[in-house]
Symmetry: C2
Subunit: 209 residues, 2 copies
């Protein structure tokens, strides 16, 4: 009646990261991106996301410095916020998701856009030096780029991982082509999602795996 | 300064599902599994998950009947619980995640297992006829199979989507090989995750896309 499987959480993590490091081609990544990539792979079960991973040269350092300094973490979706492991955060950083704020439906109507994009209006006072983690909505990433074009304060890093078939690949390509001077980490193509976005924050929050 | 992209949420959904239906090979799926598969693909951005999708013959019908009758939804992770769209649920079904219950760390120690697996001890009184959605921990799925072997009440359906490199493929293979008489839906291999598990619940909660 007892099934034979590994039940030790720490050992499961250790073996998982060992398998990832033995199977994934991490050789082309910048040294400080490797730890982050391992954790992104761990979140999705796919070693080949490395091929689509793009990090600007200062993305990892900028994110780590910001988090240590207490930067807030701005998330487009509640699932991203839930996936962030609070005990890894170096400065009890605030995790903010404005999607369910009562003003958002009306803002979406006024701005003729999705709720996910409209919710960024409520990020404005937190944006300067923040860690932005987008794990769901392409429209949120597009809207962030528009806000930066219009002069919004720059975050410390954009973790751009929207997922799906309409706008996801396009919004991430737009970020990678011109991140408006903001360091960024993204996964080109359709893949992404809240688990990957949260894993990026978790990896950047604490260097040890 | 304005980027050209689709901003109408309903139209984004419509186009997404149309792209999925044009690209994914849905022809080998049972008719009642197709809608569910479309939504799983939508959650992860990958049409080829169809190849790894396994549904027992009565899984979709059993899940829909249970949800309409008010069955609770038992989730292994907070991210799964957050991903369930409450307004789609047909009977204001309760969404339960016991992972953060204060008794769980001690239970994990007593049972010499992970917190994710130990948290299932607190499912026992809810299990009969429930919808189980596992989107993170292989040990939770293994533990559920052990509890069923030991005579625990049967849920209406097991949505088995743990992700990762240690135990994920193995636990889902064990479910597909012998689901202990419980209807099930699973994605073989390493892929899975909370977004896919939540998408399965959302698809089964309401037939319309």
């Amino acid at each position: 009646m007892t099934i034979n499987y590994l039940r030790d959480g720490n050992e499961i993590y250790r073996q998982s990261f060992a398998i990832i490091r033995s199977e994934a081609n991490l050789s082309l990544l910048a040294p400080d991106v490797v730890n982050v990539a391992v954790r992104l792979i761990h979140a999705c079960g796919m070693t080949d996301i490395v091929d689509d991973l793009v990090a600007s040269p200062t993305a990892v350092a900028s994110a780590r410095t910001a988090l240590k300094a207490g930067a807030p973490i701005l998330c487009d979706a509640r699932m991203v916020a839930e996936g962030i492991i609070r005990r890894r955060l170096p400065a009890e950083n605030t995790v903010i998701c404005t999607l369910n704020h009562p003003d958002v439906p009306q803002l979406a109507q006024q701005l003729a856009t999705t709720r996910s994009a409209a919710a960024l209006e409520l990020w404005r006072s937190h944006l300067a030096g923040a860690v932005v983690a987008i794990g769901n909505a392409p429209t949120a990433l597009f809207r962030l780029l528009e806000m930066l074009d219009a002069g919004a304060a720059k975050p410390a890093v954009i973790l751009g991982f929207p997922v799906g078939f309409v706008g996801a690949a396009e919004s991430k390509a737009a970020l990678a082509a011109d991140s408006r001077g903001v360091p960024f980490l993204t996964l080109l193509g359709r893949r992404g999602g809240s688990a990957i976005a949260a894993a990026a924050v978790n990896a950047l929050a604490l260097e040890e795996e």
